[in-house]
Structures are given as structure tokens and as C-alpha cells.
Symmetry: C3
Subunit: 222 residues, 3 copies
């Protein structure tokens, strides 16, 4: 259905995105002291959750996650890697963040496009692009009984890069200028914004006038 | 599809319900110290989550939440309001409870009707009416890593008013007496029951013979 | 659609599985000090959650949980039982584990079959069989704000029996040898593995080289 890219390129990029998201799920499972099946479950949920939500919402069932065996096996590969090599993977934590940012850029772009191809309006497509990019991580944190990283103030910006990337794709669709080059540029833009947020510790503001919390929270409010 | 009401009236009431639910989501995000994107995420999830669940279950995809731009923008408006004015909004906490009760009444009635219009049986429609009214708040609490208010014993009754409202609509459908007036009466009944629960601190009973918990829980059991 | 069994037998077994899962949900609600509606919500979520997820993913909407009144009423019956008799039910905790294992065996087998009947590949069907068997318990724990039992290392194996049962059904489908007898054998195999895991405390391994956790976790690593 996606006619903007060579399907095999698209598929390979999808697998890379799923893989890096799955790594983050398996690593959280190790930190939470889960067993190997908990690792696999979190890896699958993180890698496939965002796309699964998108596909169920747009009515693309069975979802791609269950139609393509590679999508399903990739998180298991990530689980095996973390299972045997997790001290090494921990040490390359920065590499994981880079790959995760790449997955973010890719998924916000492809999620927006797929939603639009199923007939959703551009604003709704942007929302689903964000959900595709961020949904897996949300599900990962909910299943692990943690406050989702996306929601926390003390984490570098994650939603903004995804929204910018998804919004750029929507703009390209609106102006009929979407092609492989501009789509890649949108994904790269989201990737770059995420990397800059991590590098410079950019955070999103919190609500104004947070006076009632001053005793419990001595840090400067946004 | 809904032929019982003027569509524009129905739409306006839906937006009001989404708005007040979204306010409660954004306020919880402030209390949890989330940033502005966490506020928007919780506001969207609270305002749209119940209807989204209903629409996915009955096969109405893409869900109304993604078909109607107003549905999507309303939680962002609620987020902006809370972001700039949250001390004021906190102070009018009681007003929020009143609006939330109005949303509860409206959503349990319209959720039941929409499920029935998609061919579900009356009991299943009542269950989906309850899910429409309570699902957003459940999702809000799960995402914020809190025990859902709906489940907690030490909260005033929320499910009972929704069940009574949804059950009344089912009765009206069964007896072919549903019209704008009786539907409004059902929504008002749920609203009134919720307000009375808040006013008089009505709570639902817990399991009998809770002897094993006596040390940890000295309050009288239900 | 399921032509492998007498439909009434299949239906009766489904209700038994839903019932025993619902019991575990209602009991957790009592332990969490929820009121009777919290008990009913957790009972419904635990009994129906796995099948609901499977049906939404394969596009079988409205899901069986909302098409069949018996499916919906069974968790309420379980709730009533636990509400009035929970000290007795607690004492027969082992019986609950046995019934839960029976539900596990049954749901992993029927979930795999139904997914395959809706056109999913065998590996995807196995994944959905596992999701059918384990999804309700996951949802129960997420709603109750607990770390899901399925993920925890210090719990006996749950995923392995379900995977073995679902994989056996897939093998039977592949070799065209699925019938009432072999299907029952697959369900029994999952049941037996779960019971043996409980009896002998079988646990799944955790990631290797977990040196960084040594202070917080003095038990031998897997």
C-alpha cells in the first residue's frame, strides 16, 4: 500500500525500529528483575505496541505485527541478545538511545503515512504517528508498573520530536511533496531533535504557578 | 446514525463531556509533576479513552475520536486551560466534579445507545455504556501509575450511577420509549446519583468477613 | 466456526475457563481492598481480557465477550461467590490454582485455533493463543497497579506451559491431525506442565551475569 518507498527498504527500516525499541524493553525487564519470558513479553510489547495500536484504530486487522513473521521474531532476537550480553548492552546504553531515536524518527513518519493512507485526516494521522512512535514505550512502562517516561518531566523531550516529524509528513502530504527524500528528511528531523534534546537536556515545561508543590519539589518550575 | 437527537446537540454535549473528563486528566498530570506533553497525553486519554474502547469493540473504526477534529482538539484546549490557570482550576475542584458527573451521565447514556445501534444486545450495550463512561478515567489512572479511582473502596460511588443510567437507556430501548426527553432523563438520573454519592459520601460495600485484614485496616467493613 | 468440537462442549469449557480466571480477579480485588464494583471490574477484565484482545486483533468484532450473555454474566457470578464466601475461597486457594491452570490450558488451545481460523499464520496464532491465556491476568494486574505475575521472576512458570500448549495445537494444525482428542491432549499438556511448575517450583531463568544487582538481590541468579 505504501507507494512512496521501495517496500523492501521500508520493511528493513521497520525491522530496525522494532529491534531497537525491543532492546529497550528487554533492558527494562532486566532492571526489573523479570525472567526471560518477562523480557520477551516486554520486548514484544515495546517493539510492536505502537504499530498494533495504530493498526487496530485504523481498522488494519490483523495488524502487521501478526501478519509478518519477521516483525514477531525481531523482538525475540533482541531478547536473546540482552539475555546473554546485557552487561555489554548496558555499557552501550548511549548506542541504544541513538537507535531508539532512530526508531522514533522512523515510526512517527511511517505511522503518519499509514494512517493517512487508511483515510484519516491529517491531524488524526499526526496523532497516530505520535502514538505509533510513543505507544510501545508507554505500554512497556505500564506493563512494568512504572510511570511512563513520556509523561515525566525529568526526562528529555520525546513527544516534541515525534510531533515535529509527524507534522512534517502531514505538511508534505498536504502539499503533495512527499517522496522518499522528503520523507527521510522528516524522519531525520525527528531523529536530530531527539538527539539534541538528549545532548542538551531539553525538557518540556510544566504547568505555571506550581506554588502548592513547593515543599515536595524544590527544583525550579518550568 | 443516532436519530434520537439533533446531531448538533449530541455533538455539543459530547464535546462538553470530553472537555470535563480531559480537565480531570490534565489536573492529575499536574499533581504527578508531569510536563505539558504528559498533561496533553493524560487529557486526551481521559477524554477520548472510553469512546475509543467502545468504538474498537463494536467495530466502528476509525473511532469517532480520530474522525472528528473537534474531539481531538478539545482535550488540548483543556490542557492549555489547566497549564496556565491550574491554581484557579484546583480551587474550582467542586465545579470539576460537577462537570465530571455531567460527563458520566452523558457518556453512559450515549455509549449504551451507540453500542445498541451497532447491533449489540442490551446487556452488552449497558456494559459498553459503563465502559464509555468509566474507561477514560481508568486509562488515566493506569497511565499515571495510580490505582484506578473506580476500583477503590474509599471513593464515592461511580459505577452505580453509570450502570443505572445505562440500564435506564436499555429499558427505554426495550420498551421503544427512547426519545430526546427520556434519554435526557436517563443521563440526568445518572448525574443526580453521582452528585448524591458525592454529597453524602455513599460508598459501595467490600467483601464480607474481611477478618484477615483487620490489623491493616481498622475501618468498619461493608 | 469451530468445527473441531461439539459447540456446546466448547462453550461450557469456555465458561469454566472464564469463571476460574474471574475468581482470581475478584480475589485480588479483595486483597487490594476494592469495593464490590472493583471486584466485578477485575473479575470481568481477568475472565474476558485475553479473549477480547484476541478478537479485536483478529477482527472478530463485536468480540465473543459482548456477543454471548453467558460470557458476561459468568464473572459476575464469580464476584458474588467471592463477595459472600471469600474466606472459604481463600482457603481453597490451591483449588483456584488448579482451576486457573485448567483455564490456562483451555484458553491457549482455543485461542490458537480461533486465530488460525481467522487466517493468521501458525506462529502468529501461537502468539495469540498465549495472549488469550495470559492477557486476562496481565490486564488484572495492570488495573490493580501490580507488577504482572507473568513477568516476575519469583513466580512459577506460566508462559512456558501456555506456549507448549499453543505450539502443540499449531503442530496439530500443520499436520492436519487436530481433532477433539488431540486438542484435549494439547490443553491437558499445558495444564500438566503448569501444575508441575507449581508443584516443583519451576522458574524461568533471568539474564546472565547479573552482577550489578548483587547487593539488592542475594539469591542465586538463573
Amino acid at each position: 500500500m505504501n507507494t512512496y518507498f521501495d517496500p523492501s527498504v521500508q520493511h528493513a527500516l521497520d525491522l530496525v525500529g522494532i529491534f531497537v525499541f525491543a532492546i529497550s524493553g528487554a533492558l527494562l525487564a532486566v532492571r526489573k528483575n523479570f525472567d526471560v519470558f518477562g523480557m520477551a513479553t516486554l520486548a514484544e510489547a515495546t517493539g510492536l505496541g505502537g504499530g498494533l495500536f495504530r493498526d487496530v484504530v485504523i481498522g488494519s486487522v490483523p495488524p502487521a505485527a501478526f501478519e509478518d513473521l519477521g516483525y514477531f521474531l525481531t523482538p525475540l532476537l533482541a531478547t536473546a541478545l540482552v539475555f546473554f550480553l546485557h552487561p555489554v548492552v548496558e555499557r552501550i546504553n548511549y548506542a541504544v538511545l541513538v537507535f531508539d531515536a532512530a526508531g522514533l524518527g522512523l515510526f512517527c513518519a511511517t505511522g503518519t503515512l499509514k494512517a493517512h493512507q487508511y483515510g484519516l485526516s491529517l491531524p488524526a494521522s499526526v496523532a497516530l504517528g505520535l502514538a505509533t512512535a510513543a505507544g510501545g514505550g508507554m505500554l512497556r512502562d505500564v506493563l512494568a508498573n512504572e510511570v511512563p517516561q513520556l509523561l515525566r518531566w525529568d526526562r528529555e523531550m520525546y513527544a516534541v520530536p515525534a510531533i515535529v516529524g509527524a507534522g512534517t509528513v502531514a505538511l508534505l502530504l498536504r502539499t503533495s511533496t512527499l517522496n522518499a527524500a522528503t520523507m527521510s528528511a522528516a524522519a531525520l528531523l525527528a531523529f536530530a531533535l531527539r538527539m539534541l534534546s538528549l545532548r542538551y537536556g531539553w525538557r518540556a515545561p510544566r504547568a505555571w504557578h506550581r506554588t502548592s508543590r513547593r515543599t515536595a519539589d524544590t527544583s525550579a518550575s518550568g
